[in-house]
Assembly symmetry: C2
């Protein structure tokens, strides 16, 4: 009997949850990813700030899926999609035909038309990005230590994070902690605690997806950590020497980008209309209206619910993945399922050591209790027992000692040179 | 009062042990290293084979030395030494003058005049090397899985390790273990257990620095793990497609180099005569005969003892480092110390999981008991409590589960492209 071939592109939360939910189904699944691992993105900033090692937050896709006999994992890059004749093309020229295609290739960072900023102000989406940021930050303190003028030293001790969403807040808070605590006593010619960490948000407040009062609390917690929070002003240029904030030019050698999001280019390959950032609008069952055999899950999907977009967060991607699997299953049996609905259990962000904000739609937490809630939730959702244990130990260690064990500068550059 | 300036180049075992032994001395020390971390090299092959993360076996030099007030750590590369006027030049053009210079820049791998093999057959000396080898090995299995012909698949499943010393034996044993156990059930189109792992030693036996009977036992243990051990035959060419063993050409996409050692180029910058591999012959107090204010510690030193060279191993480097510190201290006080003598406590090597050989000059161990001895000795000598704990947990985990947690392909390439 011919088993339908389901091709899933992307092994993040959306794709992996689709695949797992089809474990008992009589389908043949091919999971295609450019990388060999599933990444627990919510903890990526910890790798960037040397609190965790890269393998702590990643697990090989093959290993996760080794017991699921109906899956074939393929390390490959998709270069074209022909939805009319139902096949995709891979970078090595091979073609894969499918009966059902699930696109879950996620999002990357965007520079709002300033692509020249990408080399200067790295963003944070992959493990390679995280290691590049780690190298930049640790090297900046080394350069400051070796500086021969005050101006040079100050520029190396100036850190700017552009974008006041959860990633920006987490990066800025942790950078301040590193400067004030982790590096204490380690330098002879500079005082790392004098480093300036500035978080810049063009909108009126940080963590705009949270209620007003939690935004205000987050700002206060950031300021207590020593972060200089700037809201309502946009960065208008970035160069190797610094950045401009309106008319003001600030000398800074380390600008990190946590501002813009763009959907993966695979959405555009479908040849259907996409939204402003490249996301694909979907039908209520998460299929593409023009191609009912193509589904979108995760950050690549543009889903409206009650007049608002479903946010690009891990729980939403997992829910979409499971829903797509449910629709595939139902169609095989000639059944139908209700439309996708995102269940929003809440919103959480951490701000350096021992601070954070949590919004559970009714219950609001901030400060230490929010930090603990965040920690438990994140470690709980990490895939694989071993990772959880190691991450907990690393956290206990850095909590107790203020140390960050992964402060190792690796010389690698990502292959495309953009990291 | 003018405190003498001691410049130490290299933060490996030789340099770091010199610096630490001078902690209470009234000297001003500058420790110069190209990398920001001390590396526990004996466990480097574990990073290459995905058993440990890079930060598990490395610690920032600044952090190790933060309490030692008489040390200044400098992240910089030495490009020239002027021993006559007592200064060194750094890559950024700065110069450092010294009263005493300690060169402890170690060794790298050598290709016996075949420098074109370096890109094809990577060696293992730095963390970046280890990550490059990890990427090569994991990618080979992926390519085999995607191969479209038997010949292509077999070439990707052929692994050769050139050089039968401890590093070669450790790499080959662990590769066999990965192929036979770690990757079980993860592939759909290949059987990883059918991979061929060949260890090639041009001399008559593997682990030539061990007694004959332990060499024989090591060979038997390797063969039991599935390694094809070839002795008495040399690799005569290496290309992208494979390698030649005498007249025979073997199609292989993964050749790892564990054969040759060359001393760091800093020895040659001194302008004195060096030995065949670039090591600097030293006086009995480890100073350079032509320049008594220059000392050599670790793998860069050529030291003869009882008619035999002192081996390039971690314990010898540490002993030299401590001896150099003792001589510096004695000279400041107008005293003298006895000549350096290497105390050889024994020799150990591991062979994959649960096997190894130990020679304690009188007591010989092999198999499981040698493996445990090796494990305890290595974890004990790891710097820093946290690293020891994490490494032990990782080992317990991989021992119990056969899993290797760091199987994450990072895309980075080392900056100079030689990794």
């Amino acid at each position: 009997m011919h088993e339908p071939h389901v091709v899933v592109v992307g092994g993040g939360f959306g794709g992996l949850w689709t695949v797992r939910a089809l474990a008992r189904e009589r389908v043949r699944i091919t999971l295609v990813d450019r990388r060999n691992h599933h990444l627990f993105q919510p903890l990526l900033y910890q790798v960037a700030t040397a609190g965790l090692s890269a393998p702590d937050i990643a697990a090989p896709l093959r290993h996760i899926l080794r017991e699921q006999a109906n899956v074939d994992v393929l390390l490959a890059e998709v270069t074209d999609i022909d939805a009319a004749s139902r096949h995709i093309t891979l970078a090595d020229g091979r073609m894969l035909t499918y009966d059902t295609l699930v696109l879950a290739s996620g999002a990357t960072h965007a520079y709002f038309g300033h692509d020249d900023w990408a080399d200067i102000a790295p963003g944070l989406k992959t493990l390679d990005d995280a290691l590049a940021i780690r190298r930049r930050v640790l090297t900046a303190f080394e350069r400051a230590e070796a500086a021969t003028s005050d101006a040079e030293r100050d520029a190396w001790l100036d850190f700017a994070v552009v974008g006041g969403g959860p990633t920006g807040v987490e990066l800025a808070g942790t950078l301040a902690e590193i400067a004030r605590h982790t590096l204490r006593n380690e330098f002879r010619h500079i005082d790392p605690a004098r480093a300036r960490v500035r978080l810049i948000e063009a909108g009126p407040r940080v963590l705009a997806s949270f209620p007003d009062d939690l935004s205000a609390k987050a700002r206060k917690q950031l300021e207590r950590l020593g972060v200089d929070v700037v809201t309502g002003r946009a960065v208008t240029s970035i160069t190797e020497e610094g950045y401009a904030l309106g008319d003001e030019f600030i000398a800074s050698r380390t600008v990190l980008w946590a501002a813009g999001v763009a959907a993966s280019p695979l959405g555009r390959m479908l040849g259907v209309e996409t939204d402003r950032v490249g996301r694909v609008p979907v039908a209520p069952d998460l299929s593409v209206p023009a191609y009912p055999d193509v589904f979108i899950a995760g950050d690549l999907a543009s889903v409206q619910q009650d007049g608002r977009p479903v946010p690009g967060v891990a729980p939403a991607a997992k829910q979409m993945g499971r829903h797509v699997a449910r629709v595939i299953r139902a169609r095989l049996r000639g059944e139908t399922v209700p439309a996708f609905r995102y269940r929003d259990y809440g919103n959480l962000a951490t701000i350096g050591r021992m601070a954070g904000v949590v919004d559970l739609h009714g219950v609001k937490l901030s400060g230490l209790v929010a930090w603990w809630f965040w920690l438990v939730a994140h470690v709980f959702f990490l895939i694989g027992f071993r990772n959880r244990l190691i991450v907990l130990i690393n956290w206990a260690w850095s909590y107790w000692s203020y140390q960050r064990h992964a402060r190792i500068i690796l010389r690698g550059e990502s292959e495309d040179g953009t990291a």
